[in-house]
């Protein structure tokens, strides 16, 4: 069974069709890149899968539970790192993770263990007692990731997880995602094409709300003139009147 399955998700904003009949699946142990130019419909799709946005049609199943008809169970099985990694800046890292643990129904002792484990995975144990507002952007991103994994979900959706990180932080984040990807189903939205080749076994390319490729990074790269992923991305998604 696919840990994450999406069927025919569509969503319009007014007269603009942002996402059109998007279907995809991610199996446990698989890390899949979700690529596309700005405005292609990546974040809208991820928000619909996470239950933050209602689709006009279609459904997503997380660990077998429908986000439409069994939302709570579906969301319990999901770790979601939203675009921009929103955080409660007034809380300490530990209190933030405890808050998320409570909202996911973790009991006190279990939450304590899970906070320690998530903090260790995200390499933030040294800042657990610090207020989030005092942390650097890199740390904040890792705190948000720890929040997404604090309840140990089988499915992870990460929207731009390395956005704004310095090269060292990116390397650490990629290593963490690779490690987690051995046991979880991970869908990553990213603009960093080098990350796709480093972390992902499959790449899904979306453009103007529609999926235009779903293949291995190597096969996708071979579609470009220079045999590089960047060339393929440019060739498949370029606009006639790019600004």
């Amino acid at each position: 069974m696919d840990a994450l399955k999406v069927e025919s998700l569509s969503r319009s904003f007014g007269s603009r069709q942002a996402v059109r009949k998007v279907s995809l699946s991610v199996a446990r142990g698989e890390t899949v890149a979700f690529l596309g130019p700005n405005g292609a419909g990546k974040s809208t799709t991820l928000r619909m899968i996470a239950g933050y946005l209602e689709p006009d049609e279609g459904d997503a199943w997380i660990n077998g539970a429908s986000i439409q008809s069994n939302r709570t169970r579906a969301q319990l099985a999901l770790g979601y790192l939203a675009e921009g990694a929103p955080l409660y800046l007034d809380l300490s890292v530990k209190d933030f993770l405890a808050f998320l643990g409570r909202t996911h129904g973790l009991r006190r002792a279990e939450a304590k263990d899970r906070i320690a484990s998530a903090a260790e995975d995200a390499a933030i144990t040294d800042v657990l007692s610090r207020p989030i507002e005092t942390l650097s952007k890199g740390y904040r991103r890792r705190v948000a990731l720890a929040g997404a994994i604090v309840h140990d979900p089988p499915v992870l959706i990460l929207d731009e997880p390395t956005d704004g990180l310095d090269p060292n932080q990116k390397i650490a984040m990629r290593a963490l995602i690779r490690r987690m990807g051995q046991a979880k189903a991970i869908l990553i939205s990213t603009h960093q094409l080098d990350e796709v080749e480093a972390m992902c076994s499959r790449a899904i390319l979306i453009d103007r709300g529609e999926i235009i490729a779903d293949t291995t990074p190597a096969e996708l790269a071979s579609r470009g003139a220079g045999g590089r992923l960047e060339d393929a991305f440019h060739m498949l998604t370029r606009r006639e009147a790019a600004v």
Partner: protein, 260 residues
């Protein structure tokens, strides 16, 4: 088998309860770990004292009751309670945390109730700090303590009504100032509807039936019966229904914000 079976229902309820508690504790800590609650309580008590002693002429009435004290509760709630509730949802929008909150495994209504209860707790704590007034009248004479307790309870319920409006307005507005102004404006309508000057004016224009119907929606009118020491079932039902209605609107308006 249908997915809407009892285990799913139970799981949702269990999660709703966990999320409600988590949100309640988070908001309560946001109030009490910052100066917000303390400043609110201090200013509320100073204002209440000033109104009770200066305008209500507490000592001049020579009555061992708290009538001059309770008289100003609706008007102070009208202004002060929006100040503590205005940040509840407007801040989530401003800080970008609405997406984090609304993608948690919990129904929106549980988050709404959690936030509302935290603000209501602050209002309750403020009321508790007014008990020296009650002690004073007991020292000065022999008041009807049952009537005072009833009026305190109804005042707390009425505070819930003003807070429910303010929570809902915080979900409508994207910034705190707009939320505050909207809350005071809407709260004023539901207060003024019971004022004699309004009811007599409406009675003259539309007849006494219309005036009475409008007055029955006034937070003030239902509090007046408690101030006379009368417990009216319809007042309890009114405040309960009023709070539930505005919290339902709050949940609807928060849900409408999903997806930005």
């Amino acid at each position: 088998m249908s997915e809407t079976t009892a285990p799913q229902w139970k799981e949702t309820l269990r999660q709703a309860s966990s999320a409600m508690r988590a949100v309640y504790l988070r908001e309560l800590s946001a109030y009490f770990l910052t100066p917000l609650a303390y400043v609110f309580i201090a200013i509320f008590l100073i204002a209440l004292g000033a109104f009770t002693f200066e305008i209500g002429r507490f000592f001049q009435t020579n009555q061992a009751d708290l009538a001059p004290f309770f008289l100003f509760h609706p008007w102070l709630y009208l202004v002060f309670l929006p100040a503590i509730a205005m940040r509840l949802w407007a801040d989530e929008s401003r800080g970008g945390t609405l997406e984090l909150l609304l993608s948690l495994p919990a129904p929106t209504w549980s988050l709404v109730i959690g936030k509302f209860l935290a603000a209501w707790t602050v209002a309750g704590v403020a009321l508790v700090f007014t008990t020296p007034m009650w002690m004073s009248v007991n020292w000065l004479g022999s008041p009807d303590n049952a009537a005072i307790f009833l009026t305190y309870a109804m005042s707390f319920l009425m505070a819930g009504g003003y807070l429910a409006i303010a929570c809902a307005m915080s979900a409508v507005a994207r910034n705190q100032v707009v939320a505050f102004v909207l809350s005071v404006a809407v709260g004023f309508l539901f207060t003024a509807a019971g004022l004699p000057v309004v009811t007599s004016g409406l009675s003259g224009m539309f007849g006494p039936g219309a005036a009475d119907a409008l007055a029955s929606f006034s937070l003030l009118m239902h509090f007046e019966s408690a101030q006379r020491g009368v417990l009216e079932l319809r007042a309890l039902i009114f405040y309960g229904g009023f709070i539930a209605l505005w919290l339902a609107l709050n949940a609807i308006w928060v849900s409408a914000r999903k997806g930005g």
